[in-house]
């Protein structure tokens, strides 16, 4: 019994401290005169923070009786979703407006976190400026619209021309197949062993970036897919081949070492340091990467447009259409618990009016989804890669639009990490993935590929 008594004192003290702490921080709930705006601010991604600070000032000037409370969440992508979901679960912390990834919308609608915007959009005279694909990206499974698109993106290969030149590769290098990509990476490794020949994101710490920029850019180029006619495709050769590609680049030393690749900050490091410093040859990454190097970015690099080249990601063996891309994008959505939805929508419409959309699309190197922004000379001229990445829209793919996708995506990260660290062969990892997906969606919702 001595033990028990010994335990009670510190535990009670800790519990007391906790309860006092909770009292101190209580009373933070939104009321009708405050709207809470939650968004991600992490590493090099500060553009949303700048945008919302500006909009807050304008909005409060126009509506003196309403205060905008900005809640920047400093976390890597998947941790951001977790934090946002936890905020949404409690009425006292649920945001009125949130920065929401298109792929989370359907799932968060089913969780009851988001409010439909159709009534507001019907009265918004600028809604017809948004292209149809952007409208669809913000829709829930019930057909209602829950998110207003801020911009979309495509993905492809970035390369440092100096590094490629040293390896004897041309300035307009454009691989036709995975093998040509691997050959180029091997040539870079030979010409300078200190350079990381090829970067792709992989593993759990990189979250959805690994799955979308990494794995799906491979898989959708094999002719196989993740999801077809309402069923999840299991056991496809393309899945194994994609994992095999990942195994190859990590075991041959063509990619960063697994320990570097599993560092939460590698995305920031590659974009702001390694590419400008010529420490990475080729990077499989998003259209927005140039946003880092603009004057408004975190790592301004005036010469970037001469030093950096772009090429489409080839399909596995060059099969038509010869290139592959994935598209996603982020939206602004309204919390279902908002006490002042009119004010929340007004904030959204102000943040995504022509001027602010233009600023965000340019600063964050997004592909514009408003036609008036897309035609604006400032948008087309500031960034010379805009034309290239906009062109990839022709070959682009979208992620499975189902609420199960985020869970399945987690299993892909697990498979990627298992092969890049050599813990499993591609076949073993694919089999584990198949089993996990059956556990998530049920066998009746799967099909053998």
């Amino acid at each position: 019994m001595r033990t028990a008594r010994f335990l009670i004192a510190p535990v009670a003290a800790a519990a007391l401290a906790l309860s006092l702490g909770a009292c101190g921080s209580g009373g933070g709930g939104s009321d009708a005169s405050t709207i809470k705006v939650a968004y991600q601010k992490f590493g090099n991604f500060t553009q949303a923070d700048e945008l919302f600070k500006d909009v807050k000032a304008d909005y409060e000037k126009a509506n003196p009786d309403i205060t905008v409370e900005l809640v920047p969440i400093e976390a890597q992508q998947n941790d951001y979703f977790t934090k946002l979901a936890l905020m949404n679960r409690s009425p006292s912390t649920a945001p009125d407006v949130m920065y929401e990834d298109t792929y989370m919308i359907k799932s968060d609608v089913e969780a009851g976190y988001l409010a439909p915007l159709d009534d507001y959009l019907a009265e918004w005279d600028e809604w017809d400026q948004f292209v149809d694909s952007a409208k669809e990206a913000g829709a829930g499974d019930d057909g209602k619209t829950y998110g207003v698109s801020m911009g979309t993106d495509t993905r492809g290969l970035w390369f440092n021309k100096d590094v490629l030149a040293k390896a004897g590769l041309p300035e307009d290098w454009a691989p036709k197949s995975w093998d040509e990509l691997l050959e180029a990476a091997r040539a870079i490794k030979e010409s300078d062993p200190d350079v990381v020949p090829f970067n792709m994101y992989s593993g759990k710490p990189q979250g959805e970036a690994a799955v979308m920029q990494g794995f799906e850019m491979l898989l959708y180029g094999t002719g196989d897919t993740l999801y077809e006619d309402g069923k999840w495709v299991l056991g496809s050769q393309g899945f194994v081949d994609s994992l095999d590609f990942i195994t190859t680049v990590f075991t041959e030393g063509l990619a960063p070492t697994p320990q570097q690749a599993l560092d939460t900050n590698i995305g920031n490091t590659v974009q702001a340091e390694w590419l400008p410093e010529g420490k990475v040859g080729i990077a499989l990454d998003g259209s927005w990467v140039a946003g880092n190097w603009l004057e408004s970015g975190v790592a301004p690099w005036p010469e970037w447009s001469e030093k950096m080249g772009t090429a489409p990601m080839p399909t596995q063996d060059g099969a038509a259409p010869g290139a592959v891309s994935m598209s996603g994008g982020w939206t602004l959505a309204m919390g279902s618990g908002s006490k002042n939805p009119d004010a929340a929508f007004e904030f959204i419409s102000m943040a995504l009016d022509r001027e602010n959309s233009l600023w965000f699309d340019v600063a964050n190197s997004q592909i514009a989804v408003r036609t008036d922004v897309a035609e604006d000379p400032e948008y087309t001229k500031t960034n010379p890669t805009t034309e290239f990445f906009t062109g990839l829209v022709d070959v682009t793919n979208f992620r499975p639009a189902t609420s199960d996708y985020p869970k399945v995506s987690n299993e892909i990260m697990v498979a990627m990490e298992a092969v890049m660290t050599g813990q499993q062969t591609p076949e073993e990892a694919a089999a584990a993935y198949d089993e996990a997906v059956i556990g998530i969606v049920g066998e009746e919702n799967t099909v053998q590929g």
Partner: protein, 291 residues
């Protein structure tokens, strides 16, 4: 009547502590136990209205290859870092410092206690910086011409076990210092007169006398180590792959990274059971006889 009022008088001062315990200790345990029978999630339909799914989470756990591995890693981590590492180091240090001269004693105990005083996140970063591939340890090894491995990547369990020994030994050392001070000197002197050597005195006199401290300390360090999260999460993130994912890391990952709260709480419930088993073993094995 006198008995009742005495009973009340005894209960009243205890009541706040009991209420707080029920609220902040028992409450989460019960909720976690309940949650482990639902499909509660952070997003998707199950976030809105979690359903009762009985033992499905536990059935899934049994079939999950990560789970037995994680359970094994947890047992290895607890056994090597708490039961062996912290306890043996603690009792050795306490014994050695007793016979050391004063300046040595104060300097050595300050150094050891410093690791314990540091907030867990700071200690975790210090250990991360020490074991990192370009960290203190490998720089020191480089100074004498040895290229050290990337500890956190190639031997993640060794790194976190050593870090936890470093961090936790002070606690055991303090418990054992206090216990050793209470050993009646006439007992050891008598044993010495009977011709017992140092090791014999330790095994036959000192350890039996302090056995209750040993059992308390073993239980506390075991339970503490079982729930170590920050240290491992900061140092290795449970990786590479799942090579250092002990149960707390696995539970966090399933509940908050993969949004499956129900499944995560099932793992947490298993942790409670493992902790319970350890406690029962200690209480039984080192049950203090009436003396």
């Amino acid at each position: 009547m006198a008995v009742t009022s005495r009973g009340v008088a005894r209960v009243v001062p205890l009541a706040p502590a009991v209420v707080l315990l029920a609220l902040f200790m028992l409450g989460p345990v019960v909720w976690s136990f309940y949650g482990s029978f639902t499909n509660a999630a952070l997003t998707g339909p199950a976030a809105l209205s979690p359903e009762w799914i009985g033992f499905d989470n536990y059935a899934a756990l049994v079939g999950d290859p990560d789970f037995p591995k994680s359970l094994w890693l947890t047992v290895v981590f607890v056994f090597l870092s708490a039961v062996v590492g912290q306890n043996v180091m603690g009792i050795l240090l306490a014994g050695l410092l007793r016979s050391a001269v004063k300046p040595v004693r104060s300097i050595a105990s300050t150094v050891v206690v410093a690791a314990w005083v540091l907030p867990e996140i700071v200690a975790a970063f210090a250990a991360y910086a020490f074991f990192h591939s370009e960290g203190t340890l490998n720089t020191l090894l480089g100074g004498i011409g040895i290229t050290g491995p990337d500890w956190l990547y190639s031997t993640p369990m060794l790194a976190v076990i050593l870090a936890n020994i470093w961090r936790g030994t002070a606690f055991s050392m303090m418990v054992y210092s206090a216990a050793l001070a209470e050993v009646p000197p006439e007992l050891t002197e008598a044993a010495q007169l009977d011709g017992a050597n140092g090791l014999q005195r330790l095994t036959w006199v000192t350890l039996p006398v302090i056995r209750r401290s040993i059992s308390t300390n073993l239980m506390l360090t075991t339970l503490q180590t079982l729930s170590v999260f920050t240290l491992i999460y900061v140092m290795t993130g449970g990786g590479p792959g799942t090579d250092s994912s002990t149960l707390p890391i696995l539970a966090y990952q399933e509940a908050f990274k993969f949004a499956q709260v129900g499944y995560g709480t099932a793992i947490a419930t298993v942790m409670i059971i493992v902790g319970g088993i350890f406690s029962v073993i200690y209480i039984r094995a080192l049950r203090p006889e009436v003396d």
